[in-house]
Amino acid sequence: MLTNSFIDRPRLLISAACLLLIQSLPVFAEDAGNLYNTAFDIGVGERYFERQCSRCHGFDATGNDETGAPDLTGRLSRASSNVGIYNILKQGIPGTAMLPVAADLPDSQVWQLVAFIDSLSTDPTNVNLTGTAEAGSGLFSGKGECDSCHMVSGRGGRLGPDLSRVGERRNPDELVSDIIDPHQDVAPRWWTIKVTGADGVAREGLRMNEDSFSLRIMDDDSNLWSYPKSQIESYERLQESTMPSYAQTLTDSEVDDLVAYLFSLRKEI
């Protein structure tokens, strides 16, 4: 009990001071950051998230199309700072299913939840990479030929995801995995469909969209095709990536350079 009081009192004081700052000087409050951001705080926030938030946002916080709850593991579309996250938690988002946290939830716990949500995305200033982005950029359009399929800032191919802001949603470890083992976690948008329609012509392309009664693909020449399923003669779905593994093509240091480049790709603020 004594120990708890000892810990809680300064935090409450700090919290109160923080709130005063928010009310009077919001800019400085943002700069002040979250005072509840230790590993312990993040753990408490995670447990709160699992209990109160995971029903909509998922146990891994990656969101849920069904509920409309967004992925919280990358850049947040509605909050660019911890104060922004705090405000959403306290107020909810009017007109959506995002309700505020309980009004009587202590601010310290709200900030612990903020710390957990903040921890889901990788702060690039805290990352030390062995590779260099400049060398990676050269590999991207050179030896790797990545730009034959991927666009960055409007330049490149159409046969893979646009990577202009990939650093916001993938951390360096994930990027290494994407390059070495591209068949892991392939989004349905990048599956391949082989289809023969009413015209009897077999076509193969990326699965742009498929629904109960129709499907749409883009072939290697960027042609867009739409098929009613009732008129399909044959259909095959490949739930793997069209991207080759670079495990044998690039050296370890080249992969590091490429990762450094990709991780640097984010929205310029």
Binding site: E50, Q52, R55, C56, F59, A102, P188, D211, S212, F213
Partner: protein
């Protein structure tokens, strides 16, 4: 009262006359010159099937078959359906509503807990009721409302703040507003009530907040509570010993979907939800009666006549929150009065509805948690499938092989229809202490594959054998309800925003239209001036179709 000067009255009359259609001109509004409907008596509700021009309750009829005698739209002409009107719900959320239609007037519930009355032929509004809502709701899964009930000239609606509201069907005025339970303690209400004689029977939601579920009956005129039957037995009552310690007090067993009624047996049938906390059964050892069960209650007193527990000691959130469908079917050489139930746990059951005797049951969707059912219908569990701290893969996932969305049954085909889901999910267990008004779930789940890797389908099941007769694949994870008609049709909707019609006998696709947003509701059908309509909510819009004139 201030009187209008004669000059203004003349101008007003002139303006009205100017806007009136000339005689003989085609105008959809001419059908509502006399919008007054005749009061809905209990006899009309018992015999609702005999007036298929109306849709008088959430599931169409008391047996909840969702089968309409209307056949103007049928297998030969359903391809000619055309949009008649669309009603945009002003509060952006998802529509789970099944409207009622009474003598040409449609009643549509909206998120969060609002109600609007429109002309069923045009979709244009008579009145609306906006329920005043506190800002500290405790709701698990979205701001939903699924429909109203009607008796006499009064509509009865559940609200998210756990109230039951009686509303004048002609004006939208509130007649009474009753707090069913304390919303701050985690209670809420989303389902349409069920009228039984002169009472409004209604359930409660909040199974993720450590509530103690119950089914209530209220006097339709006064709003006084007539009886309450708890879904978890109290201290000293039979079944209370199926909960370790005091866990029964926070054991969930919510009753958040509408039940059914058999007038001959005078029995109310109602499903109950998961025990709480959902995914950590360590703190509530035992079978946890009457969670995940079908309850048969006396229609006058609410006393429990029998129960059938589908998933004893559930640790996967397999609510038995499905609408019970009642029918008399041929079974092993004789006609049996049965209740049919495709459960969230992936098993289909046919049960004698007079006694609760298990007749037949089989899986109708993928599942890994049970080896099968024993002779009494009790699941034989696969060992080691309970959630763990590290996570364990189990099928069906938390959302179930089906869920609350209505199944259907056709008198013509004798088949039971359900929107089913074949999926799997990692289940996690967590330790949590109960705090009033806070979530009390003890874990959660995580998909490890994209939703598109799974499968949804409309499955037709023979209730005498529990065998699947046909299936029609649709986009995962669809959550549309099903309605069948004497026109040989099955109507439903899909996760990708289609409204479609299948041949109820064969599953052949006959018609579809893209409505653009996910379908969370069930279709219903009615007629006005001998013209049949079929209505389905998609996204935030209520669409109504009919044949080309």
């Amino acid at each position: 009262m201030r009187q209008l000067p004669m000059k203004q009255i003349i101008i007003l009359l002139a303006a009205i006359g100017f806007s009136m259609p000339s005689i003989g001109q085609e105008d959809p509004f001419q059908t509502v010159i006399t919008p007054a409907f005749s009061p809905i008596t209990w006899e009309r509700l018992v015999n609702a099937e005999e007036e298929p021009e109306n849709w008088l309750m959430y599931s169409g009829t008391l047996d909840s078959q969702r089968y309409s005698q209307l056949d103007q739209i049928n297998t030969s002409n359903v391809g000619e359906l055309e949009l008649q009107w669309a009603y945009q719900i002003p509060v952006i959320d998802r529509a789970e509503t099944v409207p009622l239609v009474v003598d040409g007037i449609m009643f549509i519930t909206e998120a969060p807990s609002n109600l609007v009355a429109v002309d069923a032929a045009t979709g244009r509004q008579y009145w609306r009721y906006d329920h005043e809502m506190p800002d500290d709701l405790r709701i698990c899964c979205g701001r939903n409302n699924r429909g109203v009930a009607i008796l006499g000239e009064t509509l009865f609606m559940s609200t998210l703040d756990a109230h039951l509201v009686a509303i004048d069907a002609r004006t939208g005025n509130v007649l009474w507003d009753k707090e069913v339970a304390d919303h701050e303690a985690g209670y809420s209400k989303t389902a349409a009530p069920l009228i039984v004689k002169d009472k409004v029977v209604t359930g409660i939601a909040g199974g993720e907040f450590g509530i103690r579920g119950f089914i209530d009956a209220y006097d339709a005129v006064t709003g006084e509570l007539a009886w309450r039957t708890y879904a978890i037995p109290g201290e000293g009552e039979p079944g209370n010993d199926t909960w370790s310690g005091d866990s029964w007090k926070t054991g969930g067993a919510a009753t958040w979907i509408t039940g059914s009624y058999d007038a001959e047996a005078n029995l109310i049938y109602w499903g109950t939800g998961n025990p709480g906390p959902d995914w950590n059964g360590d703190v509530r050892l035992g079978d946890n009666l009457y969670s995940d069960s079908a309850l048969a209650l006396n229609g006058d007193t609410g006393e429990l006549e029998w129960y059938f527990q589908f998933t004893p000691h559930d640790v996967h959130d397999y609510d038995s929150i499905q609408v019970p469908i009642l029918a008399d079917i041929p079974f092993e050489g004789r006609t049996r009065k049965v209740m049919m139930w495709a459960n969230r746990n992936a098993f289909f059951y046919t049960i004698d509805r007079e006694t609760g005797e298990f007749l037949v049951g089989k899986p109708y969707a993928s599942q890994t948690w049970a080896q099968g059912l024993d002779v009494n219908g009790r699941p034989i569990r696969v060992p080691g499938m309970a959630p763990t701290y590290e996570g364990i893969m189990v099928s069906p996932p938390i959302v179930g092989a089906t869920n609350w969305y209505s199944p259907g049954y056709s008198k013509d085909t004798g088949l039971f229809y359900v929107t089913s889901f074949d999926g799997e999910q990692e289940f996690f267990k967590r330790d949590e202490d109960y705090e009033e008004g806070e979530r009390f779930t003890g874990g959660g789940g995580r998909y490890t594959q994209p939703m598109d890797a799974f499968h949804s389908s409309i499955r037709a099941i023979n209730p005498a054998t529990a065998d699947i007769e046909w299936e029609f694949p649709i986009q995962p994870r669809s959550s549309g309800g099903i309605t069948t008609t004497a026109g040989g049709l099955l109507f439903s909707g899909s996760a990708d925003g289609y409204f479609f019609a299948l041949d109820a006998a064969t599953g052949e696709e006959l018609w579809h239209i893209s409505l653009g947003r996910r379908v969370h509701a069930a279709p219903m059908t009615y007629s006005v001036d001998d013209k049949q309509y079929v209505t389905m909510a998609s996204g935030n819009v209520v669409y109504t179709f009919a044949l080309r004139d």
